[in-house]
């Protein structure tokens, strides 16, 4: 199979396509919102994008490992419900700290359950996490039946308004995560992740710890969803047991746009982060352009269907020609 230059380039930098889309979406957005690059506007955008970015990173890692996590949205909801009820609008900072720690453990626990069922009981990832998503969604509603609760304004203000050297807080968080990812990729774990997602049998034959790696991806995804839930709570300053629902599909879409295919074994997290930003910008454009919001759902879904169908379409075209 001869590869084109574009294929080679996208192999080395799977986020090239996403970067191109980002430029387009950014330009369109900047035309509608000329002050887009001013620190405060940048901040007000990035703080909204951050929860999805965090969730998408976890999703992308699961997808590189050959799986998928449909339960991330519900984990965000659980964490949001937990924090909104346990900290409350008048809560003190030490309670908040403790509860955030608890939230991270809850997220990892939920991920561990997914991982256990998928890696060790060997259930289908898509069905398993779809099923567990209802468990977590139910749990969120049990904790917080009606929207309410919240987080103290000192905390939400820190999240919403911190700007260091013209750059919003979200940038520093993303930079830190990219740094951790860069190190992870250079460890054996990073290699195993791609090997397991690429061809699990071959990885097993070679002696890679296939199941442990699969398990770990869901724990990481749960952890990232919990971080996303914390960010979401600080962003909204309130509790709603369904707040995470739209994040599931969006995180998968963002990962796919970012060059992390559903077939596993390829991609990275840089692309998915860009993908999440693109989705946020598209939402901005839609709201500025005054189009109905269902367009947003439509665009998300269309991207996924297209991404799924593309390999098949390419094969069909090749066969016709051959």
């Amino acid at each position: 199979m001869k590869q084109t230059r574009w294929q080679q380039a996208t192999y080395r930098h799977p986020y090239l396509f996403a970067l191109l889309l980002l430029v387009i979406a950014f330009t369109a957005n900047a035309l509608l919102q000329p002050n887009l690059l001013e620190p405060t506007t940048l901040n007000s955008n990035m703080r909204v994008f951050l929860p999805l970015i965090l969730v998408t990173i976890g999703q992308a890692i699961v997808m590189i490992g050959g799986g998928i996590d449909i339960s991330v949205g519900s984990i965000v909801s659980v964490v949001n419900a937990l924090l909104a009820t346990q900290i409350g609008l008048s809560g003190d900072l030490s309670t908040a700290g403790v509860m955030m720690g608890v939230a991270l453990f809850v997220g990892m626990g939920a991920g561990a359950l997914n991982g256990l069922l998928i890696a060790y009981v060997r259930l289908q990832p898509i069905i398993t996490t779809f099923a567990t998503s209802f468990i977590y969604a139910g749990l969120a509603l049990f904790i917080l039946p009606n929207p309410g609760g919240g987080a103290p304004s000192r905390l939400t203000a820190f999240y919403r308004e911190t700007i260091i050297l013209w750059l919003p807080l979200a940038f520093y968080i993303i930079a830190l995560l990219l740094f951790i990812w860069a190190i992870m990729r250079r460890t054996r774990y990073g290699r195993y992740l791609y090997a397991v997602g690429g061809k699990a049998e071959a990885a097993y034959e070679t002696g890679a710890p296939v199941r442990a790696v699969q398990f770990s991806t869901y724990v990481i995804s749960g952890l990232m969803a919990a971080l996303g839930g914390i960010a979401m709570t600080l962003l909204t300053g309130s509790g709603n047991a369904q707040v995470g629902d739209p994040l599931t599909l969006s995180s998968i879409t963002a990962a796919v746009i970012g060059g992390t295919p559903l077939s596993g074994g390829a991609g990275g997290i840089t692309g998915p982060i860009i993908g999440a930003v693109i989705l946020g910008l598209i939402r901005n454009i839609i709201s500025f352009a005054g189009v109905a919001t269902w367009w947003q759902t439509f665009v998300n879904a269309a991207i996924i269907v297209l991404a799924l169908a593309m390999p098949g379409i390419i094969r069909l075209v090749r066969r016709r020609r051959g």
Binding site: T187, R188, R191, A195, A203, E205, T206, G207, R319
Partner: protein, 505 residues
Amino acid sequence: MAPLLAVRNVAKRYGAVQALIDASLEVSPGETLALIGANGSGKSTLSKVINGVVAPDGGQLLFAGRAVRFGSPHAAKDAGISTVFQELSLIPQMTVAENIWLTREPLRRNILIDHRTERRRTEELLSLFAGTFRADLTPDTPVSALLPDERQIVEILKAISVNPRLLILDEATASLDSRQVQRLFDLIGQWKTQGTAIIFISHRMVEIEQIADRYSVLRNGQTVGEGAMKDATAGDLVALMAPEASGGAIERRRLSPDDLATRRVILQIDDLRTGILRGVSMRVHEGELLGIGGLKGQGQRDLLLAIFGGIPYNGRIMLDGKPVHFTHPRQAMKHGVALVPGDRTGEGLLSIRSILENLLVPSWRDYGFPLRMKRAHQNASVIAARLDLKMAGLDAPVSALSGGNAQKVVIGKWLLRNPSILLLDDPTKGVDIATKAEFYRLLTRLCDEGTTVILYSSDDEELISLSDRLLVMHDGRISSELAGASLTTANLVAASLGVARRETP
């Protein structure tokens, strides 16, 4: 010198099939042993016992003088046994370097992968085969961008990168060109001087004669001979491999070559090429039973699939005197060509659906709307009776049938369409002897009725007793045609290994 590995009286059974009965071999450091045998003789099972992929039922493995039992391929690898697998163990999305060093990456500070060292070591390995692959193959090339021969080379390098004490090459030369094979043989020579023991499995007798020091021959799961290569001729080895006729199969009255010559040519193929086939030409006569033989994976399956329109191909196919080029099995079916796949449960049957439904799957469109169930039932009953199908009723699920009866349903569903050419892909694999006999009678009757049958089988005896004519495939080509007096097991085995082609150029 004491042997590095001694295998003594190993037995292995898979369900009803006794793959190995009594297999033994010895290989010493610095020695190349050729493990040879016909189809189904048990050579892959034996190599899998040695490298820990399957656990033997009985017998003993001595490695470096100690009794061993490998629970996994990994355990065998840790002991110093490395295998170049036929089914590739590479991860397509990862680069050459990443694949070769997977799980053994050189580390800095015990945590970070040392890319520079990894790259350098990969380049050293690649230089072993320098000049035999494309220049743009670097340690950073993804495996998915490689050609089959280059992947095979990477696979070999991966196996050798652990510095094994015993290297098993299982058909490792199958996808290599002659220059690459020559380079591999040079390298084997070097590894031998370093004390590596090598077990070489190949379907090419020429290569075996060139590289092996000793041989060990398997026949029906038993070791039937071993010795030094220099004391044996290709003819001797073939005689050892060819199984004695067991007399179980029925003898079909063969159509004589003269008789065949008077018959109409129904299928004519010229220079057929696919990824595996390298120019196949043949004529098939009406009512003939043409056997396709040879060791597994020599292109037999591709040949049948190409005729059936299941895979793209280049070349000319004439059906009944008219040129055709099927790009979809449906077109082939319309022209009266039917293919009975080898993997019954996977490709041939909907196991939870009824026998009736399975029989009618290819024919429903002839039954109108709404479906004329009464007529369907009648036609299915006729076929079931013709096949002597033993069943509780047409409405019973296929999964309730025995293996042999399930096989009849696969054939029966095509018979309902009255095919003029029936392609069979190893139809009696895993079928018991009684059902086989019944199946042979069915084939004989079909041919007498004028149906043309092209039968690929991995059972050599079956091919010899059934075929009017037998084409033996080797490396994607037809290496020889056996008919009349030349249609013997010994000739088939010899041709399978590419011996005949050398003797009669």
